[in-house]
Every structure is written in C-alpha cells, then in structure tokens.
C-alpha cells in the first residue's frame, strides 16, 4: 500500500529516504502510535528519538504508577518504557535512537542528524510526539544569584537514575503536584533531605495519600500560599528566599532547589513548520483526530496536553493510529475547524479544534486544566453567546489535575459560527 514519494529536494551530504509514517519521539505516545500503525500492516513506520535510548520520560521515573489506564496494570517507569519499546518493535516499527529531527525541508519532509550522517526523510504522514518539559528557573523569572544546584525534576531524575550522579544534601522542592512528590522520592533516593516544599497555591495538588505517604515517615514542611522570591549563593546554592501571602519572608538554607511542574510542550518542530499553536497548551492546535493545521502532520501525547500521565499519552497514540490510517487512504484534511478556547481561571483545553459534523474526541471527552482551585464549578460551553452545554462538577478541582468535559455538545455547535468558549460560571 506504499507509494514512494519523491524526496523534496536533494541536499549535499544528505541521504534522501522515504517512509510511510515518520513518528518523531519515542516516548509512550510515539511508540504506541507506531505499534498500532505497524500492526495494521504499514510496512515502513519509523520512530525517531534524539535520546540514546527510547522510552521517553518514563525511562528515568523509577517510581510505580505507570500503565494503569492503557495496560491495566501497575509498573515502574523503566519497565513501562521497555514494554512500549518491545510492543512497537514486535509490531514491526523501526526504532532509531540518537537521531535528531533538526528541521523541515518540505511539508512532510524532515532533516535529521545522527552519528550515521545527515538524512532527509519524506513521509506520507508525520506524527509529532515530542512531549513536554518543565519550565526551568530562568523561564519562571525567579531572580537572584546564579549558583549551581538548580534543577528541574527531569534534570534531577536523569542525574540520579540514568547517570548515578550525586546531588546536594538538602533540597527545596518548588511546586506541590504529583511530579513534585516524584522529585521528593528521587531526592531521597539520592540521599538528600527535603528542607521544604513550596507552593504559591493554598493546598497541595496531588492526591492526599501521596502527600501523607511522602511526609508521614520523614516529615518536611509544605509551605502553601508561598512564592519563591529569589535564590542566593555564589558558586553553590545556599538558600531559597520565600514570601508568604501575608508578607512574612524567610530564607530556607539548602544546596539544591528543584523547580517542578509548569510544563511547556517541546514544540520546536511544530513551530518551525509554521504550525499554529494553541494559546493555552502552547502545543500545536489539534482537532479530535490529532490533526494539526498542517495537512499530513499529526500530533499526539504531551505535546498536546502539558502534561497528562504517560498512560494517557500512550492512549493518544493508540487512538491516533485510526485517523492516520484513514488519512493515508483518503487524504482528507479538514479545511477550517472551529477553535475551542477557555477563559481564566481555566488554562487550556485539549483537543482545541472541532468539526461539529466530525467525530468526538477519544473517550468522548475533552481535558482541561485550571490555574486555581475550583470548588464544585459549573462549566459552560458557549458559541457566539449561545449556551451549548452546562455541566456541574461535584468536587474540588485542583490545578495540575485533569478536569474532563464530555463531548455531547459538539454536534450542536455551528460549523460556520465563531470560536467555542469554555468558562466557569
């Protein structure tokens, strides 16, 4: 079923190649879509990863909790990554690590760099699965000195679990969501003590069992309503300055600080292709079938929703295989889907493009994030002032936790109307 496409243009020293589907990123989402596509009979499904090892972020998450939603079992991160690698390979996908997609030479043609040389790979469809990363200290504009000992959870986990490096002895964790507690576990694994966890919000944003579990046996203060106002230390970090909402200030002595959460998609490839981004997620704007604004280019995983758990990203990959296969057959691409937007304190919604006559999103729902705690909110879906849907959420929704919205209302939206707006009433 493959029709070899002519490589876009020749470039000196670049080896032109063609594949059916090129997947960029071998994390759970990329591996899952590749496994499904290969299993469906596509000959040439190729997955690139710039890292030396496939598997994505779970590779260095040594805690358990992976796989519940997509595999119906509980695994640690590395085991979960290995499972997805094996599944993709068994299905016949080609997995190439240490290969970086560096830019576009055409609409579905990517230039790559690897130890084997430069290539120009043209695909009938491209799936971007480049994931997300935590905003580092500088991007959060945290002022002060620039000492060593400032990390993100991702950097910390790679240092400890992949490279077996030492970290400091006493750390402050900035943020109080799931990932922040993972940072606590990793710090303890490396022999560091947690001096404090700091969040600007009034409460932690994980499930209480995690919080209690982490703090019961080896207690550390959880400083709520508190912001980090600066770092001090010349050479090595020696303190984190904080300010409570009521004006009290303090400096916490520590030699390490871990900035957790605050995710941004690794959208470099998407953006450099000129693909429109969603203002909320900062990932490519995508519809219910993972289609971006660029024909033939799909996006899956945490590139679209920074950030959902690894198994949700893997489910994306699984669900996206159908639309990719359909596109390879019929070549259809929606011209102008309706944008779906959110109003503060909601931060983003994914997917964020709809076709009222088209399919509903996977699992028949949208995922949202809020910037503030919402107690029993009422979500309202409106278009051009017309209310399409109202839904009461009978619980408190925490920032950094998913909030779901059913998709029953899609068909009632006007395909020729204005953007659909989701607000909290």
């Amino acid at each position: 079923m493959t029709t070899p496409t002519e490589p876009a243009t020749a470039a000196p020293g670049r080896r032109p190649r063609t594949v059916d589907v090129l997947v960029v990123g071998a994390g759970p989402a990329g591996l899952a879509v590749a496994a499904r596509l290969a299993a469906a009979g596509l000959d040439r499904v190729e997955v690139l990863d710039r890292e030396r090892h496939a598997g994505g972020i779970p590779r260095h998450c040594h805690h358990t909790g992976f796989g519940l939603r997509d595999l119906r079992r509980m695994m640690n991160g590395p085991d979960y990554a290995r499972h997805h690698i094996a599944t993709a390979l068994r299905a016949g996908a080609r997995l190439r690590t240490g290969v970086t997609a560096t830019g576009w030479a055409g609409p579905r043609t990517l230039d790559t760099t690897g130890p084997g040389g430069l290539e120009r790979i043209t695909a009938r469809a491209v799936v971007l699965a480049t994931g997300a990363r935590e905003r580092p200290r500088d991007a959060r504009l945290v002022p002060g000195d620039r000492p060593a000992g400032v990390l993100t959870t991702g950097g910390l986990q790679q240092a400890v679990h992949v490279h077996h490096q030492t970290v400091g002895r006493r750390a402050v964790v900035v943020g109080a969501e799931h990932i922040s507690y993972s940072a606590v576990l990793t710090l303890r694994h490396a022999g560091a003590e947690v001096a404090a966890m700091v969040t600007a919000l009034p409460h932690h944003q994980t499930v209480s069992a995690f919080d209690i579990g982490a703090r019961l046996r080896r207690p550390f203060p959880l400083l709520t309503d508190t912001t980090v106002t600066g770092l001090t230390g010349r050479g090595r970090l020696d303190g984190v300055r904080v300010r409570h909402r009521d004006g009290r200030t303090a400096t916490i002595a520590c030699d390490t600080v871990v900035f957790t959460g605050d995710w941004i998609p690794d959208h470099e490839l998407a953006r450099s292709a000129g693909i429109a981004l969603d203002h909320g997620t900062r990932g490519p704007a995508a519809d219910t079938e993972f289609r971006t604004g660029e024909p033939g280019v799909f996006a899956v995983g945490n590139l679209l929703h920074p950030v959902e758990t690894a198994d949700v990203a893997a489910l994306d990959g699984r669900f996206a295989a159908g639309p990719v296969l359909r596109h390879l057959t019929d070549g259809r691409w929606p011209a102008d889907p309706l944008p779906v937007r959110v109003r503060a304190p909601l931060r983003w919604i994914a997917p964020n493009r709809i076709d009222p006559d088209g399919p509903r999103p996977p699992l028949d729902r949208f995922t949202l994030r809020t910037a503030a705690f919402l107690t029993r909110p009422v979500l309202t879906v409106r278009q051009d002032g017309r209310t399409l849907h109202r839904r009461w959420v009978p619980r408190t929704v925490a920032p950094a936790r998913p909030l779901h919205l059913g998709a029953d209302w899609i068909a009632s939206a006007d395909p020729r109307g204005g953007p659909v707006l989701i607000a909290v009433d």
Binding site: G98, T100, P115, P136, L141, G144, D266
Partner: protein
C-alpha cells in the same frame, strides 16, 4: 602550551605579567605574544573571560556615539576595524545587523540630527535618519508610536566568549603562561617586581593591570589612588530562539541624560536580548538579578516590542560594568614602576580590546620594555557557536569523518558529543560547566538542562572536570524499593 590551575607558579622571571584574563587582558597577552617575551597572564577565577567579559550585551560597536576626541572614541573606532578583521580570520561569529535608535517622542526625534553629527565626528559617516514609515518597514514588530530613528549600519553583534577565548588560545599557543585560580594579593615593586598571589610569588619586570572591576584595588597595591571602580549592574533577559524572527536590527534607545537605556538586540546564538538595567552598586560580586530589575525590563520591552514578552525566556543574567565616574578609559603608564593600568574599561571594552592591546604594548615600550622583533602569530580557528554559520550537526563531511559530530547531546542548542570533547581537550579547557557552556552552548538553551544536564555533566566529569568527585562504576546509590 601552558595553562596551570593549581600549585606553585613557575620559578622564573617574566618580562610581562598581566593581571586579569578578561577580554582586555587576553588581548594584551595575545598582542605581546607577537614578540619573543616571557609573558604570564594571571586570572583569579577558573576561566578566561569570567567577569564583565562574559555578561554584557555582546555588541561590536562602531563607536558612533562615543564622546569625540576621547581615548575611548579612538580605541573603539580602531578596535571595531581590528576585531572585524580578526573575527573573520578566527571564525568568531559576527552578524552585521545595523542599529536603529528609535525615537519615541518629539524630544528624542529632535536629538537624532545631533547624534548623526556626533557620529560623523567619530568617523562614522553611514548613518541616516529614517521616518516612521521607513522604520516600520525595517522593523514591522516594533511597538507602536515610533516617530523615526537613526540608522547606524555598521553596528554588529558578536560572540564575546569566543573572542576572549580566541585571544587566550592564540596567546597560550604562542607561549604565554596562563595561570588560573591565581588572585593577586600584594605587589612589591622592584627589579623584578614580586607579585604575591594565592598560588605563591611571581616575579616579573613589567606589570599590566587589566583586572576589570578590581583594577582600582590592584592600582592601590602599587600606591595609586586615581580612580575607584563602582560596579554598575546590568540585568538582561534572554528570550528564546523563536523570538529571533521578531527583530532585524539592534534596537538602541536614544541616549538621554540617564544613560544609554534598555536595548533589544539579537544575539549571534539566535536569541534576543532585552536589557541592561543600570544600577550603581558597592558589591563587586553582586551579579544577581532582582524582581525590580526584571519588572523594569519587561516594562521597557513591552514598549519597544510587545510581542517579545509573549515568547519564552531562556535565561536571565546580570553583569557588572567597571564604571569609574569618569567619562573615559583610565589607561595610564607608570614608567618608573614599569607598570601600566588599564582601568575603567566599560561596555565598549570588547569592541576596543585589540586596539587597547596595541595601545598598551606601545605604553610598555615607553616603560622600557624592549619587545624585540615582531613575529607572526599562528592563526587560530575557533569552533563556531553562532547560528548564522554552519554548526557541526549540519555538516555531513565532519560527521562522516567522526560520528561524534553527529551525536547531539544538548538538543536545544544542538551541541554534539564531538564539540564537547573538543572543548574539554582544547588549549584553554573549561574549568566549569559554565565554561563549557560558553565554549559550546551546551546547557545554554531553553530547557536549561532538563533533557541534557546530566549527560553533559557526565561527559565533563569523565574528563576529570575540576570539582568533580572521582567516579567509579558501581558507586551509585542502591535502588531503594518502596
């Protein structure tokens, strides 16, 4: 080739010792290395260019706005010409973007003709005053309300790190001894001078003080109290590479009585700078940023280019300029002491560095130094870390010869294993991860080490990087099962 970091200093008498391996001290060392002289370059920190030289706005000035007829004006003009030529030879990234001084009110607009005349007096004849339409045609993303601008075509952006490193590399290859971790504590003048350092005594016939922020303190050790360095802090915000497309020129403010003000400028690494602030301080180590400083920059940036603020921030840093409260460089020869002070080298020091070096060499001759016959220095070719020129990850020929150049380690900046290895084994190797970043760009990108931090550190430590605990396989903490 001699670079030392620990232990006693060589037991010999140098012809010239230069205190401070910033861009100016390194340029002087390189200049003198063109003669058969025994030269020592002393640096208190772990790397060359580790003070003001590493944290500035990285602009190669034409000198159009210097105060005419000052030493600074002359050396900046001469230095601009010299460094442009040297950059081409040594592979230092330079982009000749030109500057626009945008006028935001009628007062600023009225000031432009005088600036153009001043530029002429500084030997800069190419400037032109543009009307508002012409300004927006050149800079469509400029904030609304600009009434006109002065266009200065020669202004360029340059890589300050490669510049200092090129000078130091060329000097060391020509026989200069670079002694790091070597702070000067006392000087006993004599024949020769005895310079007491944190690494023991060094003897030298001639002494050059290029100690930047500490030039006044070194001067005092020799009994001179002519000036005092007041550090002037400049905080800067570095925006993501995706912001680069917003800006075509170096966008300078029209100078006012309050100083040069805040600029928006591309960097040769493909980012966009916003800054600097100007804060007079007492502390010569106060290189921290402040909430107030960053808020001020964002406020100014919102006026100059509103869209810039919607882009991600890659880095925030602060540098200290060596202000002396005097309008000109403080370069003085003291022939009776066989001593030259190179003080008060402010933000133009990078541009002027090669001209300062030539000037200092003349002054040393006036102090009785016999340089002997000149010799041609072996040219250097520095690794390119600029975005406008091919980087190793793009070069099939390099990768074919050595696959390490195809192995990308730092993804945001596309730095390869081969480049990091080359930096670690180079003539002047980095003393820290920060130094490695300045040589390769590794860790300098938008993720700030989220993806590559541990891998870059591992490669650095495998080379026995200073401060690295010796690593043996199997010493990692045991997996804790919960």
């Amino acid at each position: 080739m001699t670079v030392t970091t620990t232990g006693d200093l060589p037991d010999e008498v140098y012809d010239v010792a230069i205190v401070g391996a910033g861009v100016v001290g390194s340029a002087i060392a390189r200049e003198l290395a063109g003669h058969r002289l025994r030269i020592a370059l002393l640096e208190a920190s772990d790397d060359v260019g580790n003070g003001t030289s590493k944290a500035n706005t990285a602009i190669l000035h034409t000198g159009f706005d210097a105060t005419p007829d000052t030493l600074e004006a002359r050396l900046v003009r001469d230095g601009h010409r010299r460094l442009n030529a040297y950059a081409t030879e040594a592979g230092i990234p330079v982009e000749r973007l030109g500057a626009l001084l945008a006028a935001w009110d009628t007062e600023q607009l009225a000031a432009l003709p005088a600036l153009a005349e001043k530029a002429v007096r500084n030997g800069c004849h190419e400037t032109r005053i543009l009307g508002a339409d012409a300004v927006y045609a050149r800079e469509p993303r400029l904030g609304p309300g600009a009434l006109g601008a002065l266009h200065v075509p020669g202004e360029s952006v340059i890589c300050p790190w490669t510049t200092t490193l090129a000078y130091a590399t060329q000097a060391v290859r020509a026989g200069v001894h670079l002694h790091l971790h070597c702070a000067v504590r006392a000087v006993t003048t004599g024949e020769p001078h005895e310079v007491a350092t944190t690494r023991g005594v060094l003897r030298t016939r001639h002494l050059v003080n290029a100690a930047g922020l500490y030039a006044d303190e070194i001067d005092r050790l020799l009994g001179h109290t002519e000036f005092r360095v007041t550090p002037r802090r400049g905080q800067l915000i570095v925006f993501d590479k995706f912001a680069r497309g917003l800006v075509n020129h170096i966008l300078l403010p029209v100078p006012t009585a309050l100083g040069k003000g805040v600029l928006v400028a591309p960097t040769v690494y493909g980012n966009v700078l916003l800054g600097p602030t100007a804060e007079d301080l007492d502390d010569k180590q106060a290189t921290g940023s402040t909430a107030e400083g960053l808020a001020l920059l964002r406020e100014k940036g919102a006026r100059i280019m509103p869209e810039l603020l919607d882009e991600e921030v890659t880095a925030v840093y602060a540098g200290l300029r060596a202000a002396t409260g005097h309008g000109d460089y403080r370069i003085r020869a003291h022939p009776e002491q066989r001593y030259v002070t190179v003080g008060g080298i402010r933000s133009t020091g990078l541009t002027a560095s090669l001209a300062i070096a030539a000037h200092v060499a003349e002054l040393l001759t006036g102090c009785g130094l016999d340089p002997g016959p000149a010799r041609k220095l072996e040219p250097v070719r520095m690794p390119n870390i600029g975005e406008a020129f091919p980087r190793p990850y793009q070069r099939a020929d390099l990768i074919a010869a050595d696959p390490a150049y195809g192995t990308v380690v730092c993804h945001c900046e596309r730095v390869t294993r081969g480049e990091i290895r080359d930096a670690l084994t180079s003539t002047v190797p980095p003393g820290s991860l920060g130094g490695l970043q300045r040589r390769t760009r590794a860790l300098g990108g938008r993720c700030q080490g989220f993806s590559c931090g541990a891998a870059v550190r591992a490669q650095f430590e495998a080379h026995g990087g200073p401060g690295a605990p010796p690593r043996t396989p199997g010493t990692a903490p045991k997996e804790v099962r919960r």
